[in-house]
Symmetry: C2
Subunit: 317 residues, 2 copies
């Protein structure tokens, strides 16, 4: 029997899964809390050891990790909540520990790859995947290949300026899409409005507010919460129109926790998108949908990555 292993490095959980060759349901999986200190790579190796098959051959390990990282050299420059990994050669470490090929990429790219191979994007050749969560991440499939750019830094679609000199973004710049429409931005806008004294059922909620609380308030017809979601959706819809002009994908897949707000986000987003394209040709045959793989997108993306990296599968890419 031949196997692949997939790893999803998260700020809270390390997850690992074992897949038989040709299958996408795990034969085994395990998780452990991400260590804040010490050597998180050792915890990761221990997790892989636990599910390592007793017999047979492991063809490769795929790793999804929050960026920024260099997918070619397998080096993690920095990753949220794992301060120990600074310019850390994670791929080399796992390769030397286990003696099998290791492929690594950032979690948004691999979520896109996972949705393309196993989820909402199956059969498409030009895929735009956007995850709206604490931040806004993305992965883009261009003509059946993940968009990486010269140094693996491409597809940061959350970091385009949508309002010149707008609110501060997590990256240090101003007015980025992420600073106006991420979960963090939605929560911040609600906090700011409450601080200005605007009436809202959110005023009685536990603080600091989360985007999920704002979504609940919007669903309960709270005017402030609805306005904040509508504005975020309009920024997303306009930016998405730009992304259609840039990439002309046949499918847009929206993932991440904020998308679970549902219609209060998706209806104004789609209306703005329709009103903002240059010509309706960009919408012809376009599928706009939500992600299917949920929390497993990173693992399945890592599986797709290590499979695609295997020499026997290169020709099929």
């Amino acid at each position: 029997m031949k196997y692949y292993l997939a790893v999803d490095v998260g700020g809270t959980w390390l997850r690992a899964a074992l897949y038989r060759e040709g299958e996408s349901l795990p034969a085994a999986q395990r998780r452990a809390r991400t260590p804040r200190e010490g050597r998180p790579e050792a915890a990761l190796a221990a997790l892989l050891q636990e599910i390592w098959p007793a017999e047979g051959e492991v063809l490769g390990i795929g790793v999804a990790c929050p960026g920024p990282l260099d997918p070619r050299r397998g080096v993690v420059f920095a990753t949220p909540n794992i301060p120990a990994w600074r310019d850390f050669p994670l791929a080399d470490y796992l390769r030397q520990t286990f003696g099998v090929p290791v492929a690594i990429d950032n979690d948004a790219n691999l979520a896109a790859l996972g949705e393309w191979r196993y989820g909402a994007g199956r059969g498409h050749h030009h895929v735009l995947y956007l995850t709206i969560s604490t931040g806004i991440g993305a992965g883009v499939i261009v003509a059946d290949r993940l968009l990486h750019g010269a140094r693996g830094l491409a597809a940061e679609l959350g970091h385009i300026t949508v309002v010149p000199d707008g609110p501060l973004c997590g990256c240090g710049q101003r007015g980025h899409l992420e600073a106006l429409a991420s979960g963090t931005a939605i929560a911040r806008q609600a906090e700011e409005a409450l601080a200005r004294g605007e009436p809202s059922i959110l005023a009685t909620q536990p603080r600091p507010l989360t985007a999920a609380q704002v979504a609940q308030a919007a669903q309960a017809h709270d005017a402030l919460a609805q306005r904040i979601f509508t504005q975020a959706a309009e920024h997303l819809g306009r930016a998405l129109a730009g992304f259609l002009h840039i990439f002309n994908p046949s499918i847009v897949i929206l993932g991440g926790g904020v998308v679970q707000a549902g219609e209060i986000l998706l209806r104004p987003l789609e209306a703005t998108l329709r009103a903002s394209v240059m010509t309706p040709a960009y919408l012809d045959g376009l599928t706009l949908t939500t992600a299917q793989l949920g929390d497993d997108a990173g693992l399945l993306g890592a599986l797709a990555l290590t499979r695609a990296s295997h020499p026997a599968n290169q020709a099929t890419k």
Copy 2:
């Protein structure tokens, strides 16, 4: 002897050139005024007939044409200044007339392809080409392939929103990069400032103003003209930072008439770009340069296209 033919369809001129296989200096070239009426395709065919080689074999014809068009089917949906071409099957027409393979793409894509194969972008694998002229066009090379998207409508980088509800764009939307930083936008902003009574040496110039006049005034230290160029450059620099985050190219090539304004545009553009990237990693090893092929970019891009389309050269792509 084997040959390729290249055609550049412009709003003013139709140009055609004959190239020997393996060469990029034309063995013959000819141009004719673009007919406003009648059958422009017949004028194009006559031009090709004039330079058709007396002996030897023509391996293919490449055609650069202002979009929107479908590069796969070779159909021109509409093209500026040639009202007769509405959903016109230009590739089929030329194929049937001359009995050789015909490949077609829009002029901005082919200028990018030309600069990549024969000009400023040689040796790069990830190229961003932006032409700032009447409008703002673009072509993008992603991992050695021209970015087309699902229906050939990709790479319209001039049509992203940079100022929500900003000035009207030629495409009908508002606040696009093209509406704030194209030659048309620069001239319009100068006209508007003069209409408001702002003092400027432009007030005594022949009207309507052109971007070239505004550039000359800026070079002569006219405060209004300088401010307009600086603002356009800042919009371009911020948008370009976003394009670096999206594509992570190793080279950015700026073409088009407005770029000939030189330092008054390029200095503030580069300063804004440097200040607007998320991390300096996007600038590491990045070349920012101007186009090399000038008016020949379309012809040489059409040559590169027909060469790449030839079965014998498919493997080298």
